[in-house]
Amino acid sequence: MAREVADDVTGVRIPATGHWVAEENPRAFADAVLGFLARTSPAPGSTA
């Protein structure tokens, strides 16, 4: 879905959750977000 509108997309599935992701598995959600934030932006024009 996000790849329809963006080139640099990282998809993650948080286990043992329904729609209420941050409440049903807070540890896994926080770790996934922190892992993503640890990434630095690619150089302009990069398609990584």
Binding site: G18, H19, A22, V33, L37
Partner: protein, 200 residues
Amino acid sequence: MADIEPGLRLHHVTAGEGSRTLVLLHGFPQTWWQWHHVIPAFVDAGLRVVAPDYRGAGHSWRPAGGYDKVTMAGDIRRLLREHLRIDGPVALAGHDIGLMVAYAYAQAYRDELSHLVLVDAPLPGTAVFDRLRSDPRVWHFAFHGARDVPELLVAGRERPYLQAFFDARCFDPSGIGDADLDLYASAYSAPGAMRAGFEL
């Protein structure tokens, strides 16, 4: 509370002192409280966290209009830039309706975001969104869009309506407990709160 414009003040929670900012945008039928389990982990990781109640939700004011996602993204930008005086790029995470606000923010102010986190909702304008519109699981899109009727039917029944919302979409029911449901039921039983939610 932050003055955003005449008739609109936004309630927001901040935590942490880090130089990098993570903004968390909740969805329906929730408030900033949906992030309360994860905020400590983000603070421990050195982030400054900002978790607003968007226009119409929680303790924020409930103006008659302005519930399009572009306007709501502008509200958040004003909170960050003018009220909190955050200048550099921020990381923005949105869940449910908050995802749509975050996406509108990214489209309008791309250079002001370092990261965009999209949590479990369809992106407006994508084929996925258009396909989902006819999916029975999103019956509420049409119901909430009806003028006045959802307010009529849900008035006085906010708690069981919200409970049905949470129960139908969970894997682990303990994720949102009775105390959480009480909090959301209280928030959405306030005068105009359901009307504001149905405007989203």
